[in-house]
């Protein structure tokens, strides 16, 4: 039955592709790299249009395409295929392409590989050819791609109310140069953010030669590099330290958050993990001492953590330095410290460093005064760490003026034209400069900005900046390696780059990015410019361009210059005189990512608050402010200090006053803070920002002055009596003495590497693989045999004597994952990487407060203080939020249980297992009973309560009445390999099944074409999940556990491998490696057992019976069912004992 259908001709839009697409001829002006561009920007939009409609159809899919109802009788909506007009070499529709680029941030860039689909970047990965990072990248890098498609970004160049064409802009810029040529630039001033771009430096030199009188100022609200002054004093050279954490066995951090806030943190985290990871009892393990005022991820990793006000760091450094160096000259600086730190702590810590000459390391936070850094340098120098655990590299001292200098000039009216490149000074300049007024007073302000913000509001001329994924440029990584910034797509809104702006002002002959960069690279690399450039772009870095190591020797006399002025006595803080610490926010950074939905929704790793910042205060301070827990003493019913009324954190809004300046913000009681230090994260409370950032958090800059940019004193808090609901994703902070994160001290691990098997219900319930296959017996095998055993178990699913024959997993691979809790630093990068890879929507503050966040992987954060009360029914648990807790972090995603409880209860077979052990989820089959989510013990399934992909977040409750559809721009970020889910369906992690399938297919195709069609098993390591790929510390291993030699199999064969809630016999394919702590027995705050372990013992084996739970427990680990039985009965008895 043949039917002929006349279809209406497709619309113009369909033919021309989305309006963002720019056709090639606009580039005709810029020859020299047309072919280069051809590769990336095929004319005619290719199937991009098709792709976008695909997404739209995906969203609608469930409602029409399969519905039948929608289709009955009639045909599908008619679609068009729009092939390229001209053949474009290199592009294969349907296959992604990868190009090297980099994300510049202040003075260090992160090298990246951008995945593009028909010229549409959708995902960023670390560039593996830059070895210090491997394929890892940071939270911010992952999220930065969303900014490219931000509907609120600047879409045009404007002068006043009028829009400027790009020609007009060029002219305008050229004129700036010409007009000031005569005066040699007098009256012209530049204010730029920091940059490591060699090209910018090059152009800047030119510019200054041309306009010597022009002011060039740079400003960054937050510092992430140690003050050069310290190095100059200590070594008499312009050098900066590069830490080699992998070589360090003993590390002391003085208020340094080198996992996040310091430049090069990605590299440092990675290196630290190398020294932290233990795979066998004989491995060494580093020990981390942290003294800090805030609670950072670095601090959460510490083996000994000292809560100390930032203002006291100098004293502590002096004390430890004095002890370590055996000198008294620093004594005067330590006066009064004893009130805050026990002498023993100082002595033992110093001693430990001394005992590890050449393999110890002292790190000081970038925000600390030069003295502290000088002392740190001194210790490292005299302990012979230089060249081993710390290197010094030559850097150029910045010749830029400071913001204050510029402000001075503006006040005198010396500035007629002010060019602001990036940054957002009106929002984040020190308040005492009163920058807004100054900027307004300048006659002609030209601002290059990415979006309409506070600064652009006060600028006469606003130039739309290009996203770095639209720009030609270059940058240096923290270690100085030059990396390219390469465009993946034409500027969607014709934005221009800093380089172009400067070049045009400087009157460069060929002021376009590519030319500028290639000139620089040619100069740096030497040789054939074209070849050098091509190589540079291909590798994504310039070989051997890193900063040169320089030998340094500590010059005590020089250092003393820093200590000339009279040492201040350590000042005691109190409720009336609080220390206020300004910290770079984990997600907003200094506020530049404020309009990024992925970051806004990503909970802070420590406070777990999303969409807001909060004034963080210690529990002690909380009490003194009169905030005490009300209600039952029972853990289960207790009202938290962070008052959780009906599940939402009900933050009390306080007014924080420093030096007469006030800000208001919600209070959050944060364990682990120095008692009288108030921590305020920067980057929130933007007034002029996009839809996402609007109304998120409070602005802390208004109490921040030039004098105290990082820490202020004399703060006071006053209750305003009002409340603000906070979207906190984790209401409950205690592990309840449960066997969730299994921890041990390093020494216990060395005695008993299989310690995880002596914890938890499994340890005294019948072994799930049958009586003979207890974990203890398994541990008797060699690792290889254990890996083999795991492989067979994965396929056969042994039932321990069940009468049923059950289906076997007969796939050619068996996927599994291992997560190392010992190295996980909880940076949340995996959360956003997963969001980017799997088209996970954001749901907005309101929905997060209701507990409907969609993240497929989350990081659980537990505090323990060892004070949980035991007894039958779990006892009372921790009565109060601890002041100085130990932190246990745990990433949790779907564990792909072999005996998945969620599958059994789905009435329509929407979630079933595939033969390779994946717990699949067929969205188009799901009807949304939510039974699976109820029956998931990990609570990792996420339900689309609304059409998050189709509706505006502010009109979700309007239903059909609300506006429908997403802007094309927003759709462009979606990964075409993953279905976009509609409302009413359940979704969850499936180990990036799209990557697995494509990996398998590409391997099979390659093999078939290579004539080896039988070779179907994908080699280990070719398929990486998004979370694994991004992880800075390589805590996540993923692969084929059917192959006993694969990395994941080897990880799972380790003795400290355990299944979360293993006693449920659900056999998760994702297992965890237990956490280790490495405390120093000589330290005053030494804990013989990790505190979570103490709580576990007190809950499950109350002290009434065999003394120390843990050891008592080892004694009778189950061997045969018979003894198990007896054992569990005894246990019941014991718990009873606990009750009475």
């Amino acid at each position: 039955m043949k039917r002929i259908f006349e279809h209406p001709a497709p619309s113009e839009r369909e033919l021309n592709g989305p309006k963002y697409w720019r056709s090639l001829d606009e580039l005709a002006a810029t020859p020299g790299f047309v072919d280069q561009l051809k590769r990336e920007f095929p004319q005619g939009a290719a199937e991009l249009d098709g792709v976008d409609r695909r997404h739209f159809m995906k969203i609608m899919a469930a409602s029409f395409a399969l519905g039948g109802v929608g289709l009955a009788g009639c045909r599908r909506p008619e679609l068009n295929i729009l092939p390229f007009g001209k053949s474009v070499e290199g592009i294969i529709p349907g296959l992604p392409q990868y190009y090297a680029t980099a994300m510049p941030l202040r003075k260090s860039a992160i090298p990246l590989l951008a995945e593009t689909h028909q010229g549409r970047p959708t995902k960023l990965e670390g560039n593996p050819s830059y070895l210090p990072h491997g394929s890892a990248s940071s939270l911010l890098a992952q999220a930065s791609i969303l900014d490219l498609y931000d509907p609120d970004r600047a879409t045009a160049h404007t002068k006043g109310a009028s829009v400027l064409t790009s020609a007009a802009v060029n002219e305008l810029l050229a004129n700036v140069g010409k007009n000031y040529a005569a005066s040699q630039g007098a009256g012209l001033a530049f204010l730029a953010d920091q940059s490591s771009s060699p090209t910018r430096a090059r152009i800047l030199k030119k510019l200054r030669r041309a306009l010597p009188k022009a002011i060039w100022a740079e400003y960054e609200p937050v510092t992430d590099e140690p003050p050069l002054a310290a190095a100059q004093a200590a070594f008499g050279a312009d050098v900066k330290p590069i830490y080699r954490f992998a070589q360090a066995k003993r590390i002391l951090s003085l208020d340094a958050d080198f996992f996040h806030a310091e430049s090069g943190s990605l590299y440092y985290a990675r290196e630290f993990a190398k020294g932290r990871r233990v795979t066998k009892a004989t491995d060494p393990m580093n020990r981390l001492y942290v003294a800090e005022s805030a609670f950072t991820l670095t601090g959460s990793m510490a083996d000994h953590r000292l809560r100390l006000a930032t203002s006291h760091m100098l004293a502590l450094a002096a004390a430890i330095g004095g002890k370590a160096l055996g000198t008294d000259i620093l004594k005067p600086f330590t006066e009064g410290l004893e009130a805050f730190v026990s002498q023993k702590w100082v002595d033992e810590c110093a001693q430990d460093l001394v005992d590890h000459k050449g393999e110890s390391l002292v790190v000081a936070g970038a925000h600390l005064p030069p003295q502290v850094h000088a002392i740190a340098y001194a210790i490292n120098a005299l302990l012979g760490n230089i060249g081993k655990t710390i290197d010094f590299v030559a850097v150029e001292a910045s010749s830029a003026a400071t913001l204050s200098d510029l402000a001075g000039a503006v006040k005198t009216g010396a500035v007629k034209t002010l060019v602001i490149l990036g940054g957002n000074p009106v929002y984040n300049a020190p308040v005492d400069l009163d920058w807004a007024k100054l900027q307004a007073s300048v006659a002609d302000v030209i601002r290059l900005g990415y979006a309409a913000d506070e600064t652009s509001a006060l600028a006469g001329t606003n130039l739309a900046s290009a996203h770095y994924l639209e720009s030609w440029g270059d940058a240096r990584t923290a270690d100085g390696t030059v990396v390219p910034v390469q465009p993946m797509i034409l500027p969607l809104f014709g934005g221009i780059t800093q380089l172009e702006v400067l070049a045009r002002i400087a009157g460069e002959a060929n002021p376009d990015g590519y030319a500028l960069v290639s000139e620089t690279i040619a100069a740096l690399a030497g040789g054939d410019a074209e070849k050098a450039m091509r190589r540079f772009l291909h590798d994504g870095l310039l070989e051997g361009s890193a900063f040169k190591k320089v030998p340094v020797s500590f010059d005590q006399r020089g250092a003393q210059v820093l200590f000339r002025d009279e040492p201040k006595k350590v000042e005691a803080f109190s409720l009336k005189n609080l220390e206020v610490r300004f910290v770079t926010d984990h997600k907003m950074d200094d506020g530049r990512f404020n309009n990024n939905g992925w970051l806004q929704e990503c909970p802070d790793p420590i406070t777990k608050i999303s969409w807001d910042n909060a004034i963080l205060v210690s529990p002690k301070l909380g009490k003194e402010l009169g905030i005490a827990p009300q209600g039952s003493a029972l853990q289960i019913a207790r009202v938290e200090e962070n008052d959780f009324s009906i599940g939402k954190e009900n933050g009390r809004v306080y007014e924080l006053t420093v030096g007469g300046r006030k800000i208001k913000g919600p209070l959050h009681i944060q364990p682990g803070l120095s008692n009288y230090t108030v921590v305020v994260p920067l980057g929130y409370g933007r007034v002029a920002t996009g839809h996402v950032g609007k109304g998120a958090g409070f602005n802390a800059y208004p109490i921040r002055t030039v004098a105290n940019q990082d820490v202020a004193t004399g703060g006071t808090l006053v209750d305003t009596g009002t409340r603000l609901l906070l979207a906190n994703t984790q209401e409950h902070w205690s592990m309840e003495g449960r066997d969730i994160v299994r921890e041990a001290n390093f020494d216990e691990y060395q005695k008993n590497p299989g310690y995880v098997d002596d914890i938890g219900t499994e340890s005294h319930s019948p072994a799930i693989y049958g009586a003979q296959n207890t974990p203890t017996n398994d541990n008797k095998l060699s690792r290889e045999d254990r890996a083999k055993l795991n492989a067979t178990r994965a396929k056969d699913i042994p039932r321990g004597g069940s009468m049923y024959s059950t289906p076997k997993f007969d796939g050619q691979h068996q996927w599994g994952m291992s997560i190392d809790l010992n190295t996980c630093i909880g940076c949340n990068a995996c959360v956003v990487a997963c969001q980017a890879e799997n088209n996970i929507p954001i749901v907005g503050k309101d929905q997060v407060m209701r507990g409907r966040e969609m993240h497929w992987i989350r990081l659980d954060r537990y505090y323990s203080d060892g004070k949980a009360e035991g007894g039958a029914f779990g006892g009372e648990g921790n009565r109060e939020i601890p002041e100085d807790p130990q932190v246990s972090l745990q990433p949790v995603a779907c564990a792909q249980c072999e005996l998945a409880p969620c599958e059994v209860v789905c009435p329509v077979n929407a979630t079933v297992h595939d033969e390779e052990g994946l717990n699949t989820m067929a969205y188009n089959r799901c009807i949304g009973t939510r039974y699976c989510a109820n029956n998931c013990p990990y609570k990792v399934r996420r339900f689309n309560f609304f059409d998050f992909n189709l509706r505006q977040l502010d009109s979700l409750y309007l239903g059909q009445l609300g506006p429908k559809g997403m802007p094309e721009l927003v759709k462009m970020v979606k990964n075409p390999e993953v279905t976009v889910r509609m409302r009413g369906v359940m979704e969850k992690c499936t180990y990036c099944v799209q990557r697995i399938q494509n990996g398998k297919i590409q391997h099979k195709v390659a093999m078939a074409q290579a004539g080896r069609p039988g070779d179907v098993v994908v080699p280990d390591g070719t398929i990486k999940t998004a979370c694994q790929q991004v992880c800075p510390v390589e805590a996540i291993e993923f692969g084929n556990i059917d192959d006993p030699t694969s990395k994941v199999s080897r990880a799972k064969a380790l003795e400290q491998d355990y299944s979360l809630l293993g006693y449920l016999n659900i056999r998760p394919r994702t297992t965890y490696l237990g956490k280790l702590r490495n405390p120093n027995p000589k330290m005053p705050d030494y804990q013989a057992l990790p505190l979570s372990r103490v709580e576990y013992n007190s809950k499950n084996h109350p002290p009434s019976d065999h003394g120390h739970g843990a050891h008592g427990h080892d004694s009778h680990a189950p061997a045969a069912p018979k003894t198990e039985k007896k054992h569990s009965v005894i246990d019941a008895g014991k718990t009873f004992g606990g009750l009475s």
Partner: protein
């Protein structure tokens, strides 16, 4: 009497002394009413003019029912998000209400089925209304599982219909069992009810015909299927009725057992419990009888049916409520004991959390309504005070709703990983949707009492003394 005499003379004196005084047989139809009196009484309700109070109630009920309609419409058009659900509490009022209504329904079947099997003649006066209650309750119950799903337009995936996706249902899932259990339950209840109605419809047919109302006569007549009271029919009819009663009994037990499987089959602490099936069934009977009392007592008063629903009936129902209520109380205690004895920290916590956690208020409402309230029924004085009984029956209904709430919500809100713990509170939409179902129920029930005989006349006549073929009236 004569019979009794005979016995006296036959038995030796000694036995006469130990022989207990023979209890007077309970009177099922008081004041020795004639057959036609019963017919008049019951048909009178239908034939008489529609009373004003009926119109008032009906209008009111329709208004309340509209809440459900509106609530469901909003839900479907917007998404499940309009309810209070969220991770980790993915089931809440929806399933609570489902179980609640199903439970209500059960008493109806029990009264008509089990009591019929046990030859409990006292059921006759209440079973018709009770069965109607069952059917309407099932209607209300069905609303929730159907509409609580995320994509209700795909609910047909739940039925094994061949389609081009070549995929079937998962018969391991208790929800799939529910689909079959509830639909079977609904169907069988309707059939059972209809079969019972047959003879009475025939009566109405003939009465309306002779009173000249051809239309209604034709309507009733059509559904009476031409019943003509032939005794050869009666013998098949009674056999069929008995069999239906026989299968309804295991049915009603299985339905609530399967409903309890929704929880028992899962692995959640507080759900994963073998005690659930018996305890759910007991609870169902308990709540069901509560509802029967709540409905029948006002009806009895309004229609002056004291002679048909006698004190004896109320007494029996109170005693059953007392018994089942005590069983439920025992189950609550047992849960705690096992949780403690099992020494599984997760299990133990789940129960301590119920009693003292954030939802303790719900737990104690449940305890006081379900365990304490029925204890009043120990006292004859209470059982004879109709209005007091009625109030207590309301408490029973409330208590049983909270039982389901406690089981479902508290277990979900605090499960394995403390990190995902949360707190559930309903949205206004849920609340209205639920209260609307009472409107739906009332609408149906009002229509029933207006247009159908609220008591089985044939059965009532059969239990009158004069129905006895051996010369009427004599008690023995």
């Amino acid at each position: 009497m004569a019979h009794a005499h005979h016995a006296d003379t036959a038995t030796p004196a000694i036995l006469q002394e130990v022989k207990p005084a023979s209890l007077p047989r309970a009177i099922l139809v008081a004041n020795n009413r004639s057959f036609s009196w019963i017919t008049e009484k019951i048909c009178g309700i239908i034939e008489g003019k529609t009373p004003t109070w009926w119109w008032v109630c009906f209008a009111l009920a329709c208004f309340v029912a509209s809440f459900t309609v509106a609530g469901i419409a909003y839900l479907i058009s917007t998404g499940v998000g309009v309810w209070g659900h969220a991770n980790p509490v993915n089931w809440a009022w929806d399933i609570v209400n489902f179980v609640f209504w199903i439970g209500i329904g059960h008493a109806g079947t029990l009264i008509s089925a089990i009591l019929c099997l046990l030859r409990q003649k006292w059921r006759t006066s209440i079973n018709r209304a009770a069965e109607a209650m069952t059917i309407f309750a099932v209607v209300c119950a069905a609303i929730f599982p159907v509409f609580h799903v995320g994509r209700v337009w795909y609910a047909w995936y739940l039925f094994p219909i061949p389609n081009s996706n070549a995929i079937w249902q998962n018969f391991r899932s208790p929800l799939e069992w529910d689909v079959f259990a509830v639909s079977t339950y609904g169907t069988v209840s309707v059939l059972f009810w209809y079969v019972g109605l047959l003879p009475d419809l025939a009566v109405l047919r003939d009465r309306f015909y002779s009173s000249g109302n051809k239309l209604r006569s034709a309507l009733y007549g059509f559904f009476a299927l031409g019943w003509r009271g032939s005794n050869r029919h009666w013998s098949n009819y009674e056999m069929a009725y008995l069999i239906l009663a026989g299968i309804s009994t295991p049915l009603v037990l299985s339905v609530h057992t399967i409903v309890s499987f929704d929880f028992a089959v899962s692995l959640l602490p507080g759900w994963h419990t073998t005690i659930f099936p018996p305890y759910f069934v007991a609870g169902a009977i308990f709540s069901g009888f509560g509802m029967v009392l709540t409905l029948m007592l006002p009806l009895r008063a309004v229609y002056k049916l004291e002679d048909l629903i006698t004190q004896y009936h109320i007494d029996c129902m109170c005693k059953i409520t007392l018994a089942t209520g005590t069983i439920v109380g025992y189950a609550y205690a047992m849960e705690f004991f096992i949780a403690w004895y099992g020494a599984n920290p997760y299990e133990g916590f789940a129960f301590i959390n119920r009693a003292f956690g954030h939802y303790a208020w719900a737990y104690w409402i449940m305890i006081s309504c379900n365990v304490i309230t029925p204890q009043f029924f120990w006292f004859k004085a209470v059982r004879e005070n109709t209005s007091f009984v009625w109030i207590l029956s309301i408490f029973v209904n409330v208590g049983m709703w909270f039982e389901r709430f406690v089981i479902i919500v508290t277990s979900l809100a605090r499960d394995f990983l403390p990190s995902s713990w949360g707190y559930y509170s309903p949205s206004i939409v849920e609340i209205f949707t639920f209260f609307g179902t009472f409107g739906v129920f009332s609408v149906l029930f009002l229509l029933f009492i207006r247009f159908l005989p609220i008591m089985p006349m044939a059965e009532l006549k059969a239990v009158t003394p004069q129905a006895d073929v051996h010369g009427g009236g004599a008690h023995h």
